[in-house]
């Protein structure tokens, strides 16, 4: 009990005297805050990108690409293959007995980024008349859906946010044709929000793609019926296709970019943390040195070395903790919800929102506390061990 009282007493003396060492402590706090800011900005970018791709797709929808093509942009599917897929088991049929299937075409067009005015690749997707019915969570937020057979397009919300010239009612020149924007759609932040959609047959003719498609999309009766579909495709020699669940397909696309962002972020944060650690150690050593008489006096009065140790360590942890909180707050205030885009694996832009999750803040604070712990430990040891006589003899 006595030692606990001592710890509390010494700690409160230390923490109350913090303002006296304001500038010294302030530099440590800011150093740690910077480390946390850098780390979190990278992790939040990665998390936002991942959330967009993970939030895309449902288990109830299957996508088929030509075998080996991996990306929509590389895939080719002929019209007769589309018809064969329509006969597959396990897929949902409409009331008239026809299959719910959409052959889709994916062409890359140029867009101009609002922020920089630079060109970027945007995907223009030609969708079949059942295309909209095969998109879960789709809502038209402004205007209406395009009329089949016309030069009309609808635009994703994310795309409008990042790229200029696609506002409702405007006319845009894509490829050899002019298109009119008649609607804006939202899909809960999914990848599709970075796309332009038009009628598949119009896209085929204006981009001279004949009757070819790139992907085929069907609704499955149950998520498990994907196996029936896979068996059917495997046993039909005219179909050299690969079958993915929509969710699986998009989840597979996120890993490379996310890893890239994370592998850039962590080493940077660690290098900075080592720099900040040096700063924290300096601060704490100086703090101990400036109070060596004070500590010695306490020891003369009968306080043990251990309370001094705990108090110094606590001071360091508190400073680092404050730094961590400031860093996280900074990211939250200035960066969270920030919309940006990068090149996805299909050679086109994917718009996403920087997302600071509680789990990330936790990682940031933990890093801050590690810096505080190491930065405080050795100076704390010195505080506990400094011989009373030496402390007094020092100038």
């Amino acid at each position: 009990m006595r030692i606990l009282n001592q710890i509390i007493a010494v700690c409160s003396i230390n923490l109350k005297s913090l303002p006296e060492r304001f500038w010294l402590s302030f530099s440590t706090v800011m150093a740690v805050a910077m480390v946390v800011t850098v780390l979190l900005s990278f992790l939040a970018l990665a998390a936002g990108f991942k959330r967009t791709l993970d939030g895309t797709g449902s288990e109830g929808i299957a996508i088929m690409l030509r075998d080996g093509s991996q990306q929509e942009v590389n895939s080719v599917i002929a019209l007769d293959q589309l018809r064969l897929i329509g006969e597959a088991p396990g897929i949902v049929r409409k009331d008239d007995g026809n299959p719910l299937v959409s052959g889709e075409l994916y062409v890359i067009v140029d867009g101009v980024r609002r922020s920089t005015g630079l060109k970027a690749n945007l995907p223009l997707r030609g969708i079949g008349k059942d295309g909209a019915a095969l998109r879960d969570g789709l809502t038209i937020t402004q205007g209406r859906m395009f009329e089949p057979g016309s030069n009309e397009i609808v635009v994703g919300e994310g795309l409008i946010r990042e790229f200029a010239g696609f506002d409702l009612g405007s006319e845009v020149r894509l490829g050899t044709g002019t298109w009119k924007v008649v609607g804006v759609f939202s899909m809960n932040g999914a990848v599709f929000e970075s796309e332009l959609w038009g009628d598949a047959t119009v896209v085929q003719s204006l981009f001279r793609r004949g009757s070819a498609f790139q992907t085929v999309r069907v609704r499955l009766q149950t998520p498990e019926s994907i196996d029936l579909l896979r068996d059917y495709v495997a046993n039909e020699p005219r179909l050299k296709l690969e079958v993915f669940s929509e969710k699986g397909y998009f989840a597979g696309q996120s890993s490379n970019t996310v890893n890239l962002i994370k592998t850039a972020g962590w080493p940077l944060a660690i290098a900075m943390a080592l720099g900040a650690l040096a700063g924290a150690l300096n601060t704490m050593y100086s703090s101990v040195a400036s109070r060596s008489r004070e500590i010695a006096t306490l020891r003369c009065l009968g306080f043990g070395g251990f309370p001094s140790f705990v108090a110094t360590l606590l001071e360091s942890l508190v400073l680092a903790g404050i730094g961590g909180v400031i860093g996280s707050l900074g990211i939250f205030l200035f960066f969270d919800g920030f919309s940006t885009s990068t090149l996805g694996q299909g050679f086109t832009q994917i718009v996403f929102t920087v997302t600071l999750t509680p789990a990330l803040v936790q990682q940031g604070i933990i890093l801050a506390l590690i810096v505080g712990l190491i930065g405080g430990f050795f100076p704390a040891l010195r505080a506990a061990r400094v011989p009373i006589v030496t402390a007094y003899s020092q100038g």
Binding site: V107, T116, L174, T176, L268, A271, G275, Y285, S286
Partner: protein, 385 residues
């Protein structure tokens, strides 16, 4: 005792503190050096591009092909010295993850234009031109996969299907290994005959992915590109012509604003280090108040003391920063070998900038304590506890 040894003695009067500050500065400049090198790498994508080289692509987007008949019309355009064309093959070796940048090229004209980038022996060149089923591979590819002259290698495409076999693989014979003719040339590429490609694909025949042009003079670049784009305006495939460097950099631009992130991170790291070091310097000089008072009593002029304190912070900055730049150069060298971005290096201009920042850091952190030391009154100095 010279001034320098005094400065050194002052700096290391508290060894631990000096070492910790050196470590902080070291990491700041290490981050600076590596990021500057990476930045340089991205800026130099397309750095190997000749100044009088233009690229013509389909105006819709580079993924849309151009009719091959355009090439002759481009060649006949005023101001065009040479023109060639190529297609993107989407190549990989055995597995999708082993991507190999492969172009189907018009052999003679393409090799002529890129003679400034790739070196071949006359025998290798002749062998490649003579055999339509042969392939040229870059030195880096040859090293990575252990391919030698005469090897038959299967290159697969994730876009095209080979009509003759019904598979997506083309069997090609290695006719030559391309050596880099200049430092920035990327030798992780493979070239094979466009005629072989054209005859065996199931779709996309008689098209060129892009046309590469060498103008008679780089001053003609703008005129030539306008002339070409005007020639194909309102045709089935309109074109967009730009310099090769601009074309290559457009790819990098698509990754998002890397420059901004790098600048912010380096800026943040610097502000932090500046604060830490500045603070510690002020403290260190304050602790030595008495010493400085004694020195003044002994007759050291104030100016000399000012210089010594400033010298101390400059020395600290350089001692921490210079090894960091050296380490960054080594790290970049290792990264370049691993990643294969040719421009990944600490170039002279960034190294000079780094040293300039070190000097600025030293001056900024030293100026306040040095000023304090300059104005210090002997009586106060000796009286202070």
């Amino acid at each position: 005792m010279t001034d320098f040894s005094l400065i050194l003695a002052n700096l290391f009067s508290r060894k631990l503190r000096a070492i910790l500050m050196l470590v902080a500065i070291f990491f700041a400049f290490l981050i600076f050096g590596v990021l500057a090198g990476v930045q340089n790498g991205f800026n130099n994508i397309g750095g190997a591009a000749g100044e009088n080289r233009l690229v013509t692509i389909n105006k819709i987007n580079f993924t849309q092909p151009l009719p091959i008949s355009y090439v002759e019309r481009v060649r006949a355009t005023e101001g065009v010295a040479r023109a060639s064309y190529a297609n993107w093959f989407g190549g990989y070796f055995q597995e999708g993850k082993n991507q190999i940048v492969t172009f189907a090229i018009d052999p003679e004209s393409y090799l002529d234009i890129y003679a400034t980038d790739y070196k071949l022996t006359p025998e290798e060149r002749a062998a490649f031109l003579a055999d339509r089923s042969s392939v040229l591979i870059g030195r880096k590819l040859a090293e990575r996969w252990g391919w030698k002259l005469g090897d038959r290698i299967p290159l697969s495409s994730n876009i095209f299907t080979n009509k003759n076999t019904g598979k997506q693989t083309w069997e090609l014979t290695v006719a030559g290994i391309m050596q880099p003719a200049q430092e920035n040339a990327d030798t992780s590429v493979a070239f094979f005959h466009h005629s072989n490609f054209n005859e065996s694909v199931t779709f996309g025949r008689d098209t060129a992915g892009w046309i590469i042009i060498e103008t008679a003079d780089k001053k003609l670049n703008t005129d030539v590109s306008k002339r070409i784009d005007a020639m194909f305006a309102n045709s089935a495939a309109e074109t967009a012509t730009d310099t090769e460097k601009a074309f290559n950099q457009a790819f990098v631009g698509q990754l998002g604003n890397i420059t901004l992130i790098v600048t912010l991170v380096v800026g943040a790291a610097f502000a932090t280090i500046l604060m830490i070091v500045g603070n510690t310097m002020v403290m260190a000089v304050r602790e030595r108040t008495k010493e400085i008072g004694v020195m003044k009593t002994l007759g050291f002029p104030s100016g000399r003391i000012f210089k010594m304190v400033l010298g101390e912070s400059l020395l600290l900055s350089l001692l921490g920063g210079l090894p960091a730049l050296g380490t960054a150069a080594v790290l970049l060298e290792l990264m370049r070998a691993a990643v294969g971005i040719p421009g990944l290096a600490l170039t002279l201009n960034y190294a000079v900038l780094g040293v300039a920042i070190m000097l600025a850091l030293g001056l900024l952190t030293g100026i306040i304590p040095a000023w304090n030391a300059l104005r210090l009154n002997i009586v106060t100095a000796l009286g202070r506890q």
